[in-house]
């Protein structure tokens, strides 16, 4: 077996351990963040070097090194990079455990990377738990009552959903006798299990288990409380990396293991239904929110709804059709940039004014014009308006749905987009037309500005010239090793 294929992950592990150890020796904690960034860059470089090749699966077919996995690895590394940049200021407030904070972010990223690559139910579960446990700890990192409560809720509900997922996996294993995804598919085919209700129940339970990760309704109950209580950079990380990892796993598992035509129609329908209720409940519930982190929480539920349209397309279209998968991947890429950018802007403002209330963002257009401009761009992207990335992402995924006869789903999604404009634009309005509480400027640090600029440029780039990223998404969607 070629250990080189595991290099991106190994580098990350090494740096996570190094950061924890150095924390004991180094007094300038800022350097720990820099070391973590170096680790991410190296890991990313290795991943890029692997891109495009065709490699055998490793660890007895438990892990794939295909373009799909590499695309997501790069996505997670990019998100972690921006989050660590944005944390520099935030972590500074903590007196202890700064090293652990960075190490945990690296480990959560490692888990997410493994989630995108693993092709066996057992390793999937382990990867998922690695991410989750790191995130439970990170959510409670502030150690104030609200953060601790959020962490505990997240842990308990996470445990429930893990149990549900395991139950589902057990059922699937029980009926097929396999844990490896490709083998499961073969077994379903040969034993003609496609219309077995018990297998369907197993699939359904797995949907529920993964649904927790991607925050689909009705498994989203943890979202507002956890988003509100967690340290803001971690909220951003949860809303993007954790969600994207969930989608990566779902795509690989359902495409590879449950791709049989009859079965895929069933889960396609389940995702269509979940898409509708997630969009609708997410958008409706976001409207009355006064706290921007809670609002972004519901917004991320709604975005998961739009993303599940792509999963529904995957389910109803033939295996050869790439549009559903590439739609999800492209949407995830633009959503990741947009949402991370939005959270960076929120960190920049709320860290200074010491409030997460939308009302306290009033007049930021005058007090912090650049940050306000960035946040406006990201919110516009979340609505799905040009020239931001979100517009192209929605066009792409809606087009995929229309081509496969899911027009009703698109109509509901468009209506939902209109509803969502209300609460996103409310923030924009408050920032530019609200009366500032004080005339004082809100400064931001260089690393925050850098992170903000990077994501804003990315959002504009995808929005104006979507071609290159679309191509990458299509390549990633075609190259499943299993």
């Amino acid at each position: 077996m070629n250990l080189l294929l595991l290099m991106p992950e190994l580098v990350l592990v090494a740096f996570a351990i190094a950061v924890v150890l150095l924390d004991l020796a180094v007094s300038n904690k800022r350097s720990l963040g820099v070391i973590s960034l170096v680790g991410i860059v190296i890991s990313g470089g290795v991943s890029i070097a692997l891109w495009g090749g065709s490699y055998p699966a490793i660890f007895n077919n438990m892990m794939a090194v295909d373009n799909f996995a590499l695309f997501f690895k790069l996505l997670f590394l990019g998100v972690a990079f921006l989050i660590i940049l944005a944390s520099a200021d935030y972590v500074h407030r903590m007196e202890r455990f700064q090293g652990e904070y960075y190490a945990m972010v690296l480990l959560a990223t490692l888990g997410a990377m493994l989630m995108a690559a693993t092709a066996d139910l057992i390793s999937i579960y382990i990867a998922l738990e690695l991410t989750s446990i790191s995130l439970y700890a990170l959510v409670g990192f502030l150690k104030d009552p609200r953060s601790s409560e959020a962490s505990l809720k997240y842990l308990l509900l996470g445990a429930i959903s893990s149990a549900v997922l395991l139950y589902g996996m057990a059922l699937v294993f029980g009926f097929t006798g396999e844990t490896q995804l490709g083998a499961i598919a073969a077994s379903i085919q040969s034993a003609s299990l496609t219309s077995s209700p018990a297998l369907l129940l197993g699939v359904l339970l797995m949907v529920a288990g993964f649904g927790f990760k991607i925050a689909a309704v009705p498994f989203q109950m943890w979202v507002p409380d956890v988003y509100e209580g967690a340290p803001t950079p971690i909220t951003g990380y949860l809303s993007v990396a954790s969600k994207a990892a969930g989608f990566a796993v779902i795509m690989r598992v359902f495409f590879t293991a449950f791709g049989a035509p009859q079965l895929s129609l069933d889960w396609g329908l389940i995702f269509a239904v979940l898409a509708v209720i997630s969009m609708t409940i997410g958008n409706v519930a976001a409207i009355p929110q006064a706290n921007i982190k809670r609002m972004m929480g519901y917004s991320s539920v709604a975005q998961a709804g739009y993303l599940m349209i792509g999963l529904a397309v995957m389910g109803v279209s033939p295996v050869t059709e790439v549009l559903g998968r590439s739609g999800v991947i492209f949407f995830l890429a633009s959503y990741a940039l947009t949402n991370i950018g939005a959270f960076i802007a929120i960190i920049a403002i709320s860290n200074r004014v010491q409030s997460d209330l939308i009302a306290d963002f009033a007049g930021m257009g005058k007090r912090a014009p650049l940050v306000a401009l960035g946040l406006s761009l990201f919110l516009i992207s979340l609505i799905g308006m040009p020239p931001a990335a979100g517009f192209m992402a929605k066009v792409y995924i809606f087009n995929a749905a229309v081509q496969h006869g899911l027009i009703w789903l698109v109509v509901i999604a468009v209506v939902n987009s209109v509803i969502s404009a209300y609460y996103y634009l409310r923030v924009v309005r408050v920032m530019w037309f609200g009366e500032p509480v004080s005339g004082e400027r809100v400064p931001s640090t260089a690393s925050l500005r850098l992170a903000l600029t990077l994501s804003a440029l990315g959002v504009l780039f995808i929005g104006i010239a979507p071609g290159p990223v679309m191509r990458l998404a299509e390549i990633a969607a075609r190259m499943f090793a299993f």
């Binding site: 809720k153 308990l156 429930i160 519930a285 976001a286 009355p288 929110q289 192209m392 299509e474």
Partner: protein, 631 residues
């Protein structure tokens, strides 16, 4: 020619816009002139590259230089939108017109806008406008072109309303934007009709489909008329002409560049660009000819009585654009475009001259001017040259292109030919009426607040561009004296220069038009200089006609009073308002309050109680399982 040259032409003013608006901003408070220099350097670069492009296109056998496109948007399953450039003879000529006039106007603006608090804002927008206009002429597909089409409209709006603190300027900007938007609706509809029937936005492909006869019949006619509607709005043709005279509220150099030489000509350019589509629909061609020919005489008649020098020129512009449309419809691309080419220079010059006069007297009202010949000799000479050119006096440029339009319209549209012939007389009359009122006789004092000061010639930075344009107003017509311009545009034969220069005197028609123009000039002299006839007396004899002309045929009243106030606001909008209040608002309010209530409901469910959360997950799972298994 490397294709990057074409992209660079477009990019230079874009860069200039960003540099002025973002990078130089901190420096501009103290040194506003930097913004002007930046814009001028950028446009000079574009001009140099445009000249290169022109020669490259001339040298290539098909008069076309291939520029590879970039796939901007490719969606699996059909939709592909390319961003690319189309550089052919038409584009090459337009590039020269746009960059050259833009350069002259921007050099001039340094003097005209001197000391204006919005100096750098002005140059940033001028750069953005030039970039958009270049994009419009370079675009190789209709979507891309439409984007720039709207961008020039936006820049026009911003620049008409440049002095937005004046209510009249703000209103004029709004009017221009809304009226042209009506035409743009047709343009967009035309694009969609074409796409729905051919599946392409590419201009070359569409032209080939029309030439091959694949695209034809009613589809082609309606598409062409849709595109023409866009052109009518942009080029201020009847009945959407009302915005252009009001647009004179903008700074005068803006009027010279946007509302005389380039943007208003975009409509003519659009028709020329898509000409094969028009050519294959007799209805479309006839529509273009009638609208153009009618607009020419209609606008000229209003120019006869206007007292504001810029408005005289605005009506003249509308009228000449009508000529161009008539030329396109009857004689093809070469005839229409040649007039566009010549007109750009002498009309830009006339506007710059009007600006110079305004600089000296503080007013645009010709009744307050007079006698400026002695104070501003350079302005006087250049304006006279431009006016002679516009009136169509041999051998100045206007003569050559106007003559061709008359010849071709006589062949295919005899009625419109007579209208065009009368317009020749009117044009000569109103231009020289303006010249005599402004420069002849005694100085009448200028604007009230400048009484007592003597007017003075404008600074060199303003006079030099005018002098340069005056040279062009003389010589630009020589390009087609031997038929070379026509050959470059793809049809017509060439012959010797001297032979071509004197050929008109062997024909009847040029004599006729020269005599008519001469009569117009003579009548203007008789009334406004020698005063053998009294303008007031003539106004009295034809009082109803005079009122009708000076009230612009009541079109503003018709549009604003009757259509907007009565029909739309009073009738349709009030009706819609009722529907809206009772039906739509009811529904929307219902949905909105329902949504908010639902939001509250969801919020209430979010109790913070972990047990409740767990229960929701369990119940949700159960519901889902029931739904799937019992389905």
């Amino acid at each position: 020619m490397p294709y990057q040259v074409a992209w660079t032409i477009l990019l230079l003013p874009v860069i200039s816009f960003f540099v002025i608006s973002f990078i130089l901003k901190p420096l501009l408070q103290d040194r506003p002139r930097l913004s002007g220099y930046t814009a001028i350097i950028a446009i000079s670069g574009s001009l140099a590259l445009s000249v290169w492009t022109l020669f490259a296109v001339m040298a290539s056998p098909e008069h076309e230089v291939a520029v590879p496109g970039i796939n901007w948007l490719v969606v699996d399953g059909g939709l592909t939108i390319q961003v690319g450039l189309l550089v052919d003879s038409l584009t090459a000529v337009m590039l020269i017109v746009v960059t050259l006039v833009s350069l002259m106007v921007q050099i001039y603006s340094q003097g005209y806008m001197h000391g204006d608090p919005g100096y750098h804002r002005y140059f940033a927008w001028m750069s953005l406008f030039t970039a958009s206009m270049l994009g419009l002429v370079l675009a190789n597909n209709l979507v891309f072109m439409f984007v720039f089409w709207e961008l020039v409209g936006l820049c026009s709006y911003l620049l008409i309303g440049f002095w937005f603190h004046k209510p009249s300027a703000a209103n004029a900007a709004k009017k221009a934007f809304i009226v042209t938007r009506l035409g743009d609706f047709g343009f967009l509809a035309g694009i969609l009709v074409l796409y729905a029937n051919t599946g392409t936005f590419d201009i070359v492909e569409l032209r080939e489909l029309a030439l091959a006869g694949v695209l034809g019949g009613a589809v082609l006619t309606w598409a062409a008329i849709g595109l023409f509607a866009g052109a009518v709005g942009k080029s201020a043709q009847f009945p959407l002409h009302v915005w252009l005279p009001d647009a004179m509220e903008g700074p005068t150099p803006v009027s010279a560049l946007i509302h005389a030489a380039t943007m208003v000509a975009a409509g003519v350019f659009l028709v020329a660009r898509m000409f094969p589509l028009f050519e294959h629909s007799i209805q479309a061609t006839t529509t273009v000819a009638i609208i153009g020919g009618f607009t020419a005489i209609f606008a000229a008649s209003m120019g006869l009585v206007a007292n504001d020098i810029k408005r005289v020129m605005a009506y003249s512009t509308i009228s000449q654009l009508g000529y161009m449309m008539l030329g396109l419809a009857t004689g093809g691309v070469a005839v229409g475009m040649f007039h566009l080419f010549n007109h750009a220079f002498f009309k830009a010059l006339l506007f710059l001259g009007a600006g110079s006069v305004n600089h000296a007297t503080g007013t645009f009202d010709m009744r307050l001017m007079g006698g400026l010949r002695r104070f501003m000799p350079w302005t006087f000479i250049t304006i006279v040259i431009a006016s002679l050119s516009l009136a169509g006096i041999w051998p100045l440029s206007g003569f050559w292109s106007k003559d061709e339009i008359l010849i071709t319209s006589l062949e295919s549209q005899p009625v419109l030919f007579y209208l065009a012939l009368i317009t020749v007389f009117m044009t000569a009359f109103y231009m020289f009426r303006a010249v005599f009122m402004t420069f002849g006789g005694e100085y009448r004092g200028g604007a009230p607040e400048t009484h007592g000061h003597h007017p003075h010639e404008s600074p060199k930075v303003m006079v030099l561009p005018m002098a340069f344009l005056a040279v062009l107003a003389v010589v630009s017509g020589f390009w087609n004296v031997g038929g070379q311009f026509g050959a470059f545009m793809g049809h017509g034969e060439t012959h010797g220069f001297i032979e071509g220069l004197f050929h008109p005197f062997t024909q009847f028609l040029p004599w006729l038009s020269l005599i008519l123009a001469g009569l117009g000039i003579f009548l203007a002299y008789a009334i406004y200089s020698a005063r053998w006839l009294s303008a007031e007396a003539i106004g009295g004899w034809f009082h109803p006609l005079y009122v009708m002309l000076s009230r612009k045929f009541w079109f503003d009243e018709l549009y604003e009073g009757v259509i907007v106030r009565l029909a739309l606001v009073g009738g349709l909008f009030r009706g819609l308002q009722k529907v809206d209040e009772r039906g739509v608002d009811g529904a929307v309010n219902g949905i909105a309050s329902g949504t908010i209530l639902a939001g509250r409901g969801v919020r209430r469910a979010q109790t913070g109680q972990l047990q409740v959360y767990g229960m929701v997950i369990g119940l949700g799972l159960l519901a889902l399982a029931l739904f799937v298994l019992l389905r």
